[in-house]
């Protein structure tokens, strides 16, 4: 439990570091740290902890944005929609990685990229559906490239972590291939 809370806190802080990409997209370290932690420490109930992490990151971003001046309702909700990205990612992570029953599993980078792309789809679909926002005009290549880049970072952290950090009693369950 303490480990899980630590992962969420670390991810929340890491979310401050972000690299903007086109179409309002950005690569944030928050998701990288959160899912690297969930995978490395084989966190039980990954969907729940992805949601908690997502909520924490969204609220923290809102807090940080409020420091720079008054914030409109739209701006605030803009941060909250990100929460659904984490839920989407968590669900796909659970099915594509934790419950991977194939004898020929996808490489971890590819499976994580699916989660990332799926999370993005859910977030932008709900934004479009509920908030009547126009669909993000980001290109397919950018979405996939960002997903792969984040996934490579996650796998690198997991690999380093499994070598240099004791990942707990479930160490043997961690896969980074």
């Amino acid at each position: 439990m303490l480990t899980n809370v630590f992962i969420v806190l670390a991810a929340t802080l890491a979310s401050l570091i972000a690299m903007p990409v086109d179409g309002g997209f950005r690569i944030s370290l928050g998701v990288v740290v959160l899912f690297a932690g969930i995978h490395l420490f084989h966190v039980k109930r990954p969907i729940l902890w992805a949601a908690i992490g997502g909520l924490s990151i969204s609220l923290f971003r809102m807090l940080v944005a409020s420091f720079s001046g008054p914030m409109s309702g739209i701006e605030a909700s803009n941060h909250l929609w990100e929460f659904f990205f984490f839920i989407g990612y968590g669900i796909i992570y659970y099915y594509a990685i934790r419950r991977n029953t194939s004898d020929y599993p996808l490489p971890l980078v590819a499976a994580l990229s699916l989660g990332d792309a799926g999370g993005n789809f859910l977030e932008y679909y709900l934004r479009h559906l509920a908030a009547d926002e126009a669909w993000a005009t980001t290109s397919l290549l950018t979405i996939l490239l960002a997903a792969v880049l984040r996934s490579v970072l996650i796998v690198t952290i997991v690999w380093l972590g499994s070598r240099f950090v004791k990942p707990g009693p479930n160490r043997e369950k961690v896969r980074y291939d």
């Binding site: 796909i92 594509a96 990685i97 991977n100 194939s102 020929y104 699916l114 789809f121 669909w135 397919l140």
Partner: protein
């Protein structure tokens, strides 16, 4: 180049496969003594009993229902909607009649395919069953090269080209009907297919057994409602179908430029293509079913043709003809250009704007299940080609997912033409195998009847059979 592919594909389908597939179906129907009449309905009742008992599948195997659902997932695709509409537009209402006739003979073909796939299946080092035409060509016909040719064509045809066709159809349909930007529709499709594939055979089977009855049931129900709305046209439509099957001129074919030959050609080709009997696709899923006797799966496979052509294709044909979406006074060449819109108009006439969305959703779900089913079939062939080497099978899976992204970027006409050529070429080795192994299918059916009559059913002792010993000798040489 694309013109050459179109010409080759057209020649293959119109002049070789049409006759070869109907011929094999006819030959097997006589050899197996018309199993369509006596075997399908008992198989349906047995299948319902199995579903009620809800026995879980053993690891690395599917239940009979799961294998049927996976086969139907692949069989029922965009061709069951757009293809049928095109056949009627180009061949007139009589095409529906010939479509059913070809499916009737296709039932015997698919019986033989499924039975042979059961007999010649193999177990992978991980304990999963794997089989299909490549396996019965290799171990039954003892022709390694022909099995490799089939496996390569199937892996490319179903795993790459077929995937692009279907992903293109889904993305176009979702973006046109629901306003999804193609980029996001592609992402959604990629994620859904990717997640299903990460669950292996178990998740593919689970997905198929849940989605296929739902999508087929919804489409048939929607079609039935249109039929009921236009019920006054029911008998006249049946009359037109039968009349124009033999004399399209009598229904206005003279003016439309449709001949009996064209009516037959379009109808038979659509029937064969929609239920995939003889193409060598569905045996891959029937091979992995757990049964007491191979013939049992043969009967189950026949239900797949029944669902795909007799129920779904006929629904599309009736909806188009009864709703007035098909206009007999418009020349065939002009009608063919509006074929895609024809079924949409039919559903819109019954349900208003919801009809368009319903059709688009049906089309997308049909295409999605086809992608999943075809992946499973293609993977079976890749496993044989690469001797179950894990990194290579995984690489194929990655390539397959990559082509889901590529599909929507290409011109659909070009991809369809390549797909027609590959599926056509794939059918040739399978037809050869079916002709030479037909007697084995016959023996297995007789053995099943013998066992049922004696009151006990068990896996036949194949090693003692004369044809198996002959095969063994050949293999040893």
């Amino acid at each position: 180049m694309i013109e050459l592919i179109r010409t080759l594909g057209g020649f293959l389908w119109d002049y070789i496969l049409l006759f070869a597939l109907v011929g094999v179906g006819l030959y097997l129907t006589v050899l197996l003594r018309f199993p369509q009449f006596t075997r399908v309905f008992p198989a349906i009742s047995r299948l319902i009993k199995d579903i009620k008992e809800n026995k879980p599948a053993e690891a690395g195997r599917m239940t009979s229902f799961q294998s049927l659902a996976t086969a139907v997932a692949a069989q029922v695709g965009t061709g069951n909607i757009v293809g049928v509409a095109s056949a009627i537009a180009a061949g007139g209402p009589g095409a529906a009649f010939w479509m059913i006739v070809s499916a009737f003979f296709g039932m015997s073909t698919i019986f033989a395919e499924a039975v042979l796939a059961q007999v010649y299946r193999k177990e992978t080092p991980t304990g999963e069953l794997v089989g299909g035409p490549a396996y019965y060509i290799r171990y039954g016909l003892n022709n390694v090269w022909l099995s490799y040719i089939f496996a390569v064509l199937a892996a490319i045809g179903m795993g790459i080209v077929g995937t692009m066709v279907q992903s293109n159809a889904i993305v176009t349909s979702l973006s046109e009907s629901f306003g999804f930007p193609p980029v996001w529709a592609t992402i959604a499709l990629l994620v859904v297919v990717g997640v299903i594939l990460t669950g292996g055979m178990g998740r593919i089977a689970g997905f198929s057994e849940k989605i296929v009855p739902l999508m087929a049931g919804a489409y048939i129900l929607g079609s039935l409602i249109i039929v009921f709305i236009n019920f006054r046209n029911f008998v006249p439509t049946l009359q037109i179908i039968v009349q124009s099957a033999f004399s399209p001129q009598a229904v206005g074919g003279g003016a439309l430029g449709i001949t009996v030959r064209e009516t037959m050609r379009f109808g038979v080709a659509r029937g064969l293509f929609s239920n995939e009997a003889g193409l060598g696709s569905t045996p891959h899923s029937h091979a992995v079913a757990h049964t007491d006797h191979p013939a049992e799966q043969g009967f189950i496979a026949m239900i797949g043709v029944f669902i795909s052509t007799f129920l779904i294709c006929t629904s599309t044909a009736m909806v188009n003809l009864m709703s007035g979406a098909y206009i007999p006074t418009i020349p065939a060449a002009e009608m063919s250009q509006q074929a895609t819109l024809m079924t949409q108009n039919a559903f819109v006439s019954g349900f208003g704007t919801f009809g368009g969305a319903f059709l688009s959703l049906s089309l997308s779900s049909f295409a999605l299940t086809t992608i999943v089913g075809w992946y499973f079939f293609a993977e079976s062939n890749v496993k044989m080609l690469v001797r179950n080497k894990k990194p290579l099978v995984v690489t194929f899976k990655m390539i397959f997912l990559a082509f889901i992204i590529v599909g929507p970027l290409l011109d659909p006409d070009v991809v369809w033409s390549i797909n027609d050529l590959f599926t056509g070429l794939m059918a040739l080795p399978n037809i050869i195998a079916l002709i030479f192994l037909a007697k084995e299918a016959q023996w297995l059916l007789k053995d099943y009847d013998r066992q049922v009559a004696s009151g006990k059913l068990e896996w036949p002792d194949l090693e003692t059979q004369p044809w198996r010993r002959k095969n063994q000798k050949k293999a040893n040489r």
